[in-house]
């Protein structure tokens, strides 16, 4: 299928991109495009204007570490996250997560900023952002990850606001991300991430089991109080609200979250 006609604008700076976004009623950012373009081809999305920010590769494609903070430009692509020596050193869980996003071709194009801004509960990076209290920066402000995911495909981003950076505290300890799916290239039916921090505490997050990614704080607290992975995992379902769909019933997904939580914790011991 062919998308409906739209106006195309190529931004050469963040300022220009934001200005262009503000000019049109129904403008969308074109970054990796791998969520947007299929929807446009099916004509489920028909934006009037696309603001292509791919030319901002250099401005927003960075991956760097400032002391204890890993800063990643919004336009860093999945393959860069997967291959980056800095990320493997400073936040290997992110590199492993990136390697499991979509497929090789999708990873050539898709961006971390695009995944976060799209706020699909199946987006893996949102889980990590929540787990690690990441800071999401836009042209206007900084937003704590816990304040970013408002609901299904919903964020506090204004129409003329663009995500520019995500910053994580470095975490190189034991970790795991278990992404359960039927086909290798699929979204997670449910995904669970676990990261052990230097102080010995755990962070646990769950993908695609509610309208937003979920921080499994109940599991974290249980571990803090000395619970075993199996015991702690029993609390994985606490804040979940999965929907029943072709990939699985809500009941199954909730159960799966528990199983994967236990396994992720065991792998991240």
């Amino acid at each position: 299928m062919i998308p409906a006609a739209f106006a195309y604008q190529r931004a050469t700076s963040v300022d220009e991109a934001v200005r262009l976004l503000g000019q049109s009623e129904d403008a969308k950012v074109l970054a990796g495009g791998h969520s947007l373009v299929p929807l446009m081809r099916l004509r489920l999305a028909q934006p009037a204007t696309l603001v292509d920010i791919n030319a901002l590769d250099r401005e927003l494609g960075y991956i760097r570490r400032d002391n204890g903070t890993l800063r990643i430009g919004a336009l860093a692509r999945h393959y860069q996250l997967e291959e980056s020596a800095e990320i493997k050193r400073s936040l290997p869980l992110l590199a492993e997560m990136a390697a499991e996003v979509g497929d090789a071709q999708v990873r050539s194009m898709g961006t971390i900023g695009g995944v976060l801004a799209h706020a699909d509960p199946a987006g893996d990076y949102g889980t990590l952002a929540l787990m690690l209290d990441a800071t999401i920066t836009t042209n206007k402000r900084s937003i704590a990850a816990r304040d970013f995911f408002l609901g299904l495909f919903s964020t506090p981003l204004a129409a003329d606001e663009m995500l520019t950076e995500i910053a994580f505290a470095v975490a190189a300890g034991p970790h795991a991300y278990l992404k359960f799916r039927r086909r290798m290239s699929d979204w997670a039916i449910v995904g669970v991430g676990a990261q052990k921090l230097d102080d010995g505490s755990y962070r646990v997050g769950i993908t695609n089991a509610a309208t937003t990614p979920i921080r499994a704080d109940g599991v974290e607290q249980a571990l803090q109080s000395g619970a075993s992975p199996a015991e702690a995992a029993k609390r994985a379902g606490q804040r979940l609200d999965p929907t029943s769909d072709l990939r699985g019933s809500a009941e199954y997904k909730t159960h799966l979250a528990g199983v994967l939580t236990q396994r992720a914790l065991e792998a991240a011991l």
């Binding site: 299928m1 373009v37 999708v106 290798m184």
Partner: protein, 171 residues
């Protein structure tokens, strides 16, 4: 008629300058404007990978990019793989190993495999399968596709060993 935008793109070593509509997908630009019909369309949701080409050396699904996004870039399509009438080792391996039946998905697989082998010249079977996760084949059960990539990897290693200057030149 909608606005048309100039696009200049190097495809298989030749630079083409054309005007496109913003909504023209890269795959149709290749197929219809440049008449490079070896790149196929098998789905409309970026699953099947039949449209895979190399964009600045990386594999992309050309059905999920607009032609305007390729402006100023370098593309390689299946038509650019054989050089001077000599098949690329991956093409040769697909032939030798019966890595295709109907052939429709094959160009996409060959392009994805070439990117995979550029990154991992000596992949394990699991790495090959993982590397091909974005391409669907309905005929082969993937058995001989995996074998073809294994055999291409060996052939390319042997060729590099025999002519080290090729490696230096990045061939």
């Amino acid at each position: 008629m909608a606005d048309r935008l100039p696009v200049s793109v190097a495809v298989n070593g030749t630079t083409y300058t054309r005007e496109v509509e913003p909504r023209d997908l890269l795959v149709y630009f290749l197929r219809e404007d440049l008449r490079l019909t070896g790149t196929h369309v098998g789905c409309d949701t970026s699953q099947c990978g039949a449209c895979t080409v190399l964009l600045d050396g990386r594999p992309v699904k050309s059905c999920t990019l607009f032609a305007v996004q390729a402006d100023g870039k370098t593309l390689t399509t299946i038509e650019g793989m054989a050089k001077n009438g000599e098949l690329h080792p991956i093409q040769k391996a697909f032939w030798d190993e019966h890595g295709l039946q109907c052939g429709y998905c094959t160009p996409g697989f060959i392009m994805t495999a070439s990117a995979l082998l550029a990154k991992l010249p000596n992949p394990t079977e699991a790495q090959i399968r993982k590397g091909l996760e974005g391409n669907l084949c309905r005929c082969t059960g993937y058995v001989n596709i995996v074998r073809a990539v294994q055999s291409a990897s060996a052939a390319m290693a042997a060729r590099s060993a025999a002519t080290p200057e090729l490696v230096e030149r990045g061939a």
